[in-house]
Symmetry: C2
Subunit: 443 residues, 2 copies
């Protein structure tokens, strides 16, 4: 009916991201190409962000370190970006061999403009002019993940770990895509790590806020930075397996206008059905530093965290003990990534006299457990149930920190697996069957 | 003395090209970096063109063919250019680790503008703006060999086999370099292939015209295209080993103003001392096609070569036999690269009736020997001596073709090695000692 455009006329633009384990060899590249072609055949425009094949990035890093212990950052970025150049060209030629037009673009060709921070550049603008042209001409667009380009220096940059996720999300935002599919070697986001909690359940829908907390607390399926970007730009993510056609996990911003399908009533119902608890994550990569005998006078805690801040370490949980009236001193504990631990200890030791504390303790045998769910905002019983279940299992809690949608506790490292299972069960997250964990080299 | 610039003030600009065998691993990269730094320390500005490491290009080609038998040319170029990206970044970081500033540039960053012919693009312009900036800032410049960029399509291109030699020469021409050093795994250009003729002698100086004939007739040390470019743009080449500091071979254009040293009288003397014969090369890569029983009427030969031309095969030597008065027919023989042989045979066979010949013969057991030297222009005894020496050795000549500075003959393939040695000796090219052949994977 002319003049009455119907829903069927709408061509969706889908951004798909494939990680290194999905394209680790020629066979993987052909499998991914087939998948992309299927999406195209279903009537969608397709833009793909692809990582380097398998372990390519690590191999290039090794090569650089054979040449020099401290590679120049500009040249290291130039080197590493060869990885996606290889995978994207192979992927484009695989698609072309299947009879569909495809064109590969480097980060700079795709208009991924970043700052000049080599190795961990931040996206400052996305100008996908050439991608739009290619899409208009009916081509499938393949973009190198992980890489960008600085306008001032005219140099190639990389986005750092998880950069390909960020590339995909940034492209989805800039091109106003309907959805950004993140293909991985697991079926989606789980209520907990299925390798540790066999009864972990795939999550169908999760808010980007909850996803952010899970990612920040050890869930490895998505990188924090990509989730942040998606939340800020209202990009809906679909995390799913590249090894099957199952529905994965939708990560959405509940405050944003929903793009795909569903009436307002349906969306409301969905929101109501969202479970109170999204999942529980564990993280063994942090260490606890305790500053013993800090004078309990104003400004001392601030002074200590100023010293820590100078090391650029990422401080996570902070606990200040109740001051002892007898000594007028208190202890301050905080957690940092183990990688930063040594540097922080050195920095504090160097200013011990000035800061006036008595000694330092370092403990890397800790585990962090985080319970995440937007539903706990309005449910005061959550923390009681969490502490109760851990107590019943004889697991000691060393530190506690909370946000509106998260409660984190620190336990001994060797208790964290037990804690994960106990809490998973206590909050009714267990599935009826064990999750099938796919083989894969991770991301 | 102010106001009186002396020769010592002149900073030379040296372009250096290193092939894949010179940078096949981290150790090779560090060795090449050291060599570049030495050139810099001697007070020169240095621009380097570098090939992909070792067998990288072949490995990437294999990977492409695993993905699809006929890779899309645009994507194949995108893929292959990853090779030099790796070697140039590693080389730049190696130099930086030695305390000298170095910056790597891709073909497009270096301003290597080409046509859009993927896989064998021709350079149409060189705009090395960024290279000049880097040189002005005191940096050593590393450029990816083999690759370019098309302005219209904005796509990455490659220059085809031997492209890195061409990159080096084109940079030398565009930057007005004093000399272009081509580093390889042999000591220079030899009077013949030292692996076949043990008494082959390194040539100290050779004209670009002679070098062109040697390269076109099987000498592998330099690619024809790079020599052509050098001759046209008056770039003086120095072909030398990357494994020692010996002087190699100077390839110069005698008609061009000489850039480096020497008075007019010295140059004249040098020219006089140039030997009559530069060298003798052999080529086993061609096949001979004979068109039997061609009607000896005007236009028939032209018709046959029109058919051949349509296949884009590179016809080399052509011999038309004396026509037989009895039959009114003649035979036409010509040589083409073996790779093109099948295609040419098919094309001729398809038009056999129209062209009116009787049959086709195909012979890939031939060898071609070419004697090259500008001195033979003025010396009529050269061909007599060549044919005499082959005849004395019992070697049969099947075809002959000549230019002003070259005589080529075709023999049986299994005679060509003997022929090479016999002719080498007959023209007084033998060295007193056997040449040392370096191990190496070639270029």
């Amino acid at each position: 009916m002319p003049g009455f455009p119907t829903l069927e006329c709408h061509v969706s633009l889908i951004v798909q991201k494939f990680g290194g384990s999905s394209v680790s060899d020629a066979e993987g590249i052909r499998r991914v190409a087939k998948r992309i072609v299927e999406t195209r055949k279903a009537g969608n425009d397709v833009v793909v962000a692809v990582s380097a094949m398998g372990d390519t990035t690590d191999e290039l890093l090794d090569l650089a370190h054979e040449v020099t212990p401290i590679p120049a950052p500009r040249e290291l970025d130039m080197l590493l970006t060869a990885g996606e150049r290889i995978s994207m060209a192979l992927l484009a030629m695989a698609i072309k061999s299947m009879g569909h037009d495809a064109r590969s673009f480097t980060g700079s060709q795709a208009g991924m403009i970043t700052d000049a921070q080599h190795g961990s550049a931040r996206i400052v603008d996305v100008t996908p002019v050439r991608l739009r042209e290619a899409l208009d001409e009916g081509a499938i667009v393949i973009v190198a993940g992980f890489q960008g380009f600085n306008r001032d220096t005219k140099d190639i940059t990389t986005l750092g770990r998880g950069g390909s996720d960020t590339t995909a999300v940034a492209l989805a935002a800039a091109l106003d895509a309907d959805i950004c599919e993140i293909y991985t070697d697991v079926d989606g986001v789980f209520t907990s790590d299925p390798r540790v909690v066999p009864l972990a359940r795939k999550i169908d829908r999760i808010t980007s806020e909850e996803m952010l907390e899970l990612a920040a607390n050890g869930a490895k399926v998505l990188y924090i930075r990509a989730v942040e970007y998606a939340r800020r730009h209202n990009v809906t993510l679909h995390v799913r397996s590249s090894f099957n056609n199952n529905e994965g996990t939708i990560v959405y911003n509940p405050d944003a206008p929903i793009r795909l399908g569903g009436s307002a009533a349906e969306r409301e119902e969905n929101a109501v059905e969202d479970p109170m608890i999204a999942g529980v994550a564990a993280d063994l990569s942090e260490a606890k530093i305790t500053v013993v005998g800090v004078p309990d006078i104003p400004g001392k805690a601030a002074q200590i965290f100023k010293i820590v801040a100078k090391t650029n370490a990422n401080v996570d949980m902070i606990v200040q003990n109740v001051s002892s009236a007898a000594t007028g001193r208190t202890d301050i504990s905080f957690t940092v990534p183990m990688n930063d631990g040594h540097r922080v200890m050195q920095a504090l030791e160097a200013e011990k006299d000035d800061a006036g504390f008595q000694s330092l303790q370092y403990d890397d045998q800790i585990g962090k457990l985080a319970l995440v769910g937007a539903g706990m905002r309005t449910n005061s019983g959550v923390s009681a149930k969490l502490f109760g279940s851990l107590s019943d299992a004889g697991i000691n809690i060393e530190m506690i920190s909370t946000s509106e949608i998260r409660i984190s506790v620190v336990t001994r490292a060797d208790s964290v697996t037990d804690a994960l299972r106990v809490v998973h069960t206590a909050f009714g997250l267990d599935a009826e069957d064990e999750a099938i964990v796919h083989a894969g080299t991770g991301r």
